[in-house]
């Protein structure tokens, strides 16, 4: 298994290098010449122009320039932003990266969890009006014009009902004089969330190893809520409770909107995948054994229906990332996507390409994770070594 993961990582790095090279070639292929902006200042004497050209590495052939770009990217040097001059692209991206990862991660996990749970029930109740209604809702969610949907959500929940703020990351008034910055607090929030989810994971793994099935179930049903309660209590009695609440208040609506749209696709896919597994012989066997409906559905059918859904994660990544960018743009939520949009509109090319490169890395990471999860879930691959 480790060997497979290592192989995927090396492949991923190669793909990334190729992607970055293509990105640079795209820059070179644009009409006009971006480098002339820097060099061809008529007030510079010709010697200075030559010197500048050499210092920027522009005297090298195309292949050398591409190689330089890729190497610089891997070293974390993404250049300077045109529009926010003294800042490097790397600094700007680092500031916003945690937020975007959070948005993508929570929306993906939420939509997959809900979509899978509902999808399997839909397949189970095929032909009833419940299923028809959900299918229609799913198709509507899957094909709705996303920016429009997000605007309507913002209008309904942010403006008409006034449940959520209209955008941005924090409410500035509440943060004046605060001892921590929004980013510090946000990262603390993330780290504790990770610790909590690892605790839940550990409880699950340990409880499955326990000798008796009954005891394991009890450990799970007590342990998981305990961790969640502990997590909530930790932040409830934290001195920064109000500020954390403000962060969550601003994060909620973008996450909900993005999840709602992604969830529809997962639900439809789970349904059709489930319908295929339900026709297998082992389901008939399970029925003949007299197992309960719930056991057949969850333990026999849904487990096998999960595989194509995980595969779809790879295809859906592009969808999630696109949706995330639009979400950030519409809710003016300062993440990577909003930065990409702004940089594009302002023609800040180093920032735009740098952000796109980082988004490519995010997609690649998601791709590899989905592959590994798939491998872990499919015993035919897991045990084949």
């Amino acid at each position: 298994m480790l060997k497979y993961v290592g192989k995927r990582l090396i492949q991923g790095l190669l793909l990334l290098a190729l992607f970055l090279a293509l990105l640079y070639l795209l820059l070179e292929a644009q009409p006009g010449d971006i480098t002339q902006q820097l060099i061809a200042n008529p007030q510079l004497p010709p010697e200075a122009q030559t010197m500048l050209r050499e210092r920027l590495g522009l005297d090298q052939p195309l292949l050398g320039r591409t190689f330089n770009y890729v190497v610089n990217f891997f070293q974390g040097d993404l250049g300077l932003s045109f529009t926010q001059y003294p800042n490097t692209v790397g600094q700007l991206i680092l500031e916003r990266l945690p937020r975007t990862i959070t948005l993508f991660l929570t929306a993906t996990l939420l939509s997959y969890y809900l979509g899978f749970s509902l999808g399997k029930i839909m397949a189970w109740k095929r032909g009833r009006s419940f299923e028809t209604a959900l299918t229609l809702g799913g198709v509507a969610g899957y094909t709705v014009f996303y920016p429009w949907f997000a605007i309507l959500m913002l209008w309904l929940f942010g403006f008409a009902l006034n449940w959520f703020p209209l955008g941005k990351f924090i409410d500035v008034q509440e943060w004046t004089g605060a001892a921590v910055t929004a980013n510090q607090l946000f990262i603390q929030l993330l780290v504790t969330a990770f610790i909590a989810s690892f605790a839940v994971l550990a409880i699950h793994i340990v409880s499955r190893r326990l000798s008796s099935e009954d005891l394991g179930g009890r450990v799970r049903s007590i342990g998981t809520p305990l961790v969640i309660v502990a997590y909530v209590l930790f932040w409830w009695f934290n001195p920064n409770r109000v500020l954390v609440g403000d962060l969550l208040h601003h994060t909620a609506l973008p996450v909900i909107t993005l999840s709602m749209v992604n969830f529809a696709g997962v639900m439809l896919l789970t349904r059709s995948s489930m319908l295929e597994t339900l026709r297998e012989d082992y389901i008939l066997t399970a029925r003949a054994k007299g197992l309960s409906e719930r056991s057949i559905r969850d333990d026999h059918a849904a487990r096998n229906a999960l595989l194509p859904v995980v595969t779809s994660l790879v295809l859906a990544l592009s969808f999630v990332i696109g949706g995330g960018i639009l979400t950030e743009g519409i809710f003016s939520w300062p993440g990577l996507g909003q930065m990409l949009l702004n940089a594009t509109l302002l023609e800040d090319l180093p920032l735009a390409t740098g952000t796109l490169g980082i988004i490519g890395i995010l997609a690649l990471t998601g791709h590899i994770i989905a592959d590994v999860v798939y491998m872990y879930l499919d015993p035919r691959i897991r045990t084949s070594q």
Binding site: V139, T143, P147, L315, S318, L349
Partner: protein
């Protein structure tokens, strides 16, 4: 089969063509017609596909009606989707304290806007844009200030242009884009999938790794950055979506189908009969992959419509008018959160994108059940 080959038993020594009493193309045509009829029956048994087809039909009528209306009923100076202009005049009563802003205006505003000698109780006619939808003909002024009457069933946009005309015009653009993207995607994906499955080996490896690379790249951010670097028109966008789709995910799916076909006995038979590579691929493998290709054509149209609307919503394309641009205008002119008050600016365009995309998706789903026998309900 008996009614296809209505021919006397084969005599030894006779050439096979001569035993057929009618030309080969007629038989082929009849076979095709019969298989279409059978598939149509299957397709019709799914209501969702029919609903989708119906909606597409309505949109097609909308697309055709725009040029006809423009050349007959609609005056281009008023109704042109981009350059038309008509400010509907609304009579408002001048009052001291405004209770109902749709019919009343306060004295100070009236004095500033029209003449300083106006008094309470007078009526003032104010050019209004955006104007709300109404079925009747309304008086107003055109771009040069000349009095013109016109009706705006879906109202006018913040720049005084007819929303219905924009909606109809954009339908044509959406169909045009969807068609280019779908045809390019299917053409490339079918060719790549068949060639990759037929030859295998290093050709397969190169093409499929390339498909992996394209699949990996998130489409929307790439198109956003590309639109910053290049001017993207509608045909170019269709071509781009088609290329990225055709070399990416669709090629992988069609390849797996072509792989199933390429190991069938009739391929071996054709090879032994002396068929070359091109003959085997394009006469034997491609026709068997085509049904699935058509299916993915539908899904490509869905994606293309949504992508175009998204990019033009962001204001990144150089095209005159589209549903995305209509929403972009409403947003950039400050009607972003207007909600129900200015519903005709946001709802028709957004609904049109969603509906057309959904109907192609539904047709695709229904076709899926025709093409994949495994999915049919017991």
């Amino acid at each position: 089969m008996a009614d296809i080959l209505t021919a006397p038993p084969v005599q030894p020594g006779e050439a096979p063509e001569s035993i057929l009493q009618e030309p080969l193309w007629k038989i082929r045509l009849r076979l095709t017609r019969r298989s279409i009829a059978a598939n149509w029956k299957l397709f019709v048994s799914h209501k969702i596909g029919l609903i989708g087809l119906g909606v597409i039909g309505v949109f097609a009528v909308m697309a055709i009606s725009h040029p006809i209306l423009m050349s007959t009923v609609w005056d281009p100076a008023v109704y042109h989707p981009v350059t038309g202009y008509h400010a509907v005049k609304v009579d408002k009563l001048v009052v001291d304290v405004v209770n109902d802003p749709t019919t009343e205006v306060d004295l100070t505003t009236a004095q500033i806007q029209s003449n300083p000698f106006i008094e309470v109780g007078d009526t003032l006619s104010i050019p209004q844009q955006p104007a709300p939808p109404s079925l009747g003909v309304r008086a107003g002024i055109d771009r040069n200030g000349v009095e013109v009457s016109a009706s705006h069933i879906l109202g006018t946009d913040p720049l005084g242009r007819d929303v219905l005309s924009q909606l109809l015009y954009s339908t044509r653009a959406a169909f045009f884009l969807g068609m280019i993207a779908a045809v390019v995607t299917v053409f490339i994906a079918t060719a790549i999938g068949s060639i990759s499955a037929y030859f295998g080996g290093w050709i397969d490896t190169v093409l499929m790794r390339f498909a992996d690379l394209i699949l990996l790249v998130p489409l929307l951010p790439v198109l956003i950055v590309v639109s910053a670097l290049f001017q993207i028109s509608l045909p170019l966008l269709g071509l781009l979506i088609g290329l990225l789709g055709g070399f990416g995910g669709t090629a992988i799916i069609l390849k797996s189908q072509a792989l199933q076909v390429s190991v069938k006995p009739f391929i071996d038979a054709a090879r032994i009969a002396g068929g070359g590579h091109a003959h085997l691929i394009f006469r034997h493998i491609v026709p068997n992959v085509l049904p699935l290709s058509f299916l993915y054509m539908m899904f490509t149209v869905t994606d293309a419509i949504a992508l175009e609307a998204t990019l033009s919503f962001l204001g990144l394309l150089s095209i005159p008018m589209s549903w995305g641009i209509m929403i972009n205008v409403a947003q950039s002119q400050g009607y972003f959160l207007s909600g129900t008050d200015y519903w005709w600016l946001l709802i028709p365009a957004g609904l049109a994108v969603s509906l057309l995309a959904a109907s192609f998706f539904l047709v695709g789903r229904a076709m899926d059940e025709v093409v994949n026998p495994r999915l049919r309900q017991r």
